[in-house]
């Protein structure tokens, strides 16, 4: 499991789903139409979602655990 993970600023998320469409690992869902959620098990920290997000509210950070 890679260390770097995508993190969504859920309060600023517009739930557009642009991130979901580009994630190569299908790690993103927007279950309630309110904000995106990242499946930390699947995310490989590639940063594609962060680049695509029109609101630029995803960061890829080293996960502490």
């Amino acid at each position: 499991m890679s260390k770097r993970k995508a993190i969504v600023n859920t309060r600023a998320c517009v739930a557009c789903g642009c991130c979901m469409k580009v994630c190569p690992k299908n790690a993103i869902t927007i279950p309630k139409g309110i904000h995106a959620e990242i499946d930390k098990e699947r995310c490989v920290g590639c940063g594609k979602c962060a680049k695509e997000c029109p609101a630029s509210i995803i960061t890829v950070e080293v996960a502490e655990s």
């Binding site: 600023a12 517009v14 739930a15 557009c16 789903g17 642009c18 979901m20 469409k21 580009v22 994630c23 190569p24 690992k25 299908n26 927007i30 279950p31 309630k32 139409g33 309110i34 680049k51 695509e52 997000c53 029109p54 609101a55 630029s56 509210i57």
Partner: protein
């Protein structure tokens, strides 16, 4: 690994066709009601934004033009544009203009006003559009609504196109009134659901 293309990844063709048809016969503008009711129904019934997330052809069009064809600076949108004030403010403004358009349609239906064969861009500029009008079997109001609705669709496409060029391809999604509204519906719905349980 790339995500496999689904049937709905081609809905941008429908959106593009819609815009083009409006140049030939304005009555096709009525079809745009689908982009209005489908997202709302999905939000109300299913409580999600599947329309934005999967089916929105306009979003796909912007991501193709801005992404694949590189028509975008790919810069961050300014902070104010993604603030709740602007998003909700734009939603209110958009619907105020929308109801004004409906009122105008009503006046033509009622016969108080004559049909205006123009498309109003950005709520300001009246573009002559008579070539796309070949009469209607129904009331003039039917045609008036088509002109009004096409004006809404063209205006939002132009705005979305400009912010695509300036910022990220799908910047429109940040302030799209339909997106903001469906998100609000989802918020309300899930709040009510969590209160019940």
């Amino acid at each position: 690994m790339k995500q496999k293309k689904k049937w709905y990844d081609y809905l941008w063709i429908a959106s593009l066709t819609y815009l083009i048809l409006g140049f030939f016969n304005i009555l096709f503008a009525w079809l745009g009601l689908l982009c209005f009711f489908i997202p709302l129904l999905i939000a109300v019934i299913k409580g999600n934004k599947a329309y934005c997330n999967k089916y929105c052809g306009r979003g796909q069009l912007f991501s193709l033009a801005g992404g694949r064809f590189g028509l975008s600076r790919k810069k961050d949108v300014p902070g104010w544009m993604k603030s709740p004030y602007f998003r909700y403010g734009f939603l209110i403004f958009f619907f105020t203009m929308f109801f004004q358009m409906l009122w105008n349609t009503y006046l033509v239906f009622a016969g108080t006003k004559n049909l205006g064969t123009a498309v109003t861009l950005l709520w300001t500029f009246r573009l002559p559009w008579h070539w796309a009008y070949h009469g209607t079997f129904f009331s003039d109001g039917v045609a008036q609504f088509a002109f009004g609705f096409y004006s809404v669709m063209l205006t939002s496409t132009v705005l979305g196109f400009v912010t695509m060029l300036l910022f990220k391809p799908r910047s429109w999604c940040v302030y799209c009134p339909m997106g903001t509204m469906t998100q609000l519906i989802c918020k309300a719905k899930h709040k009510a659901a969590s209160r019940k349980s």
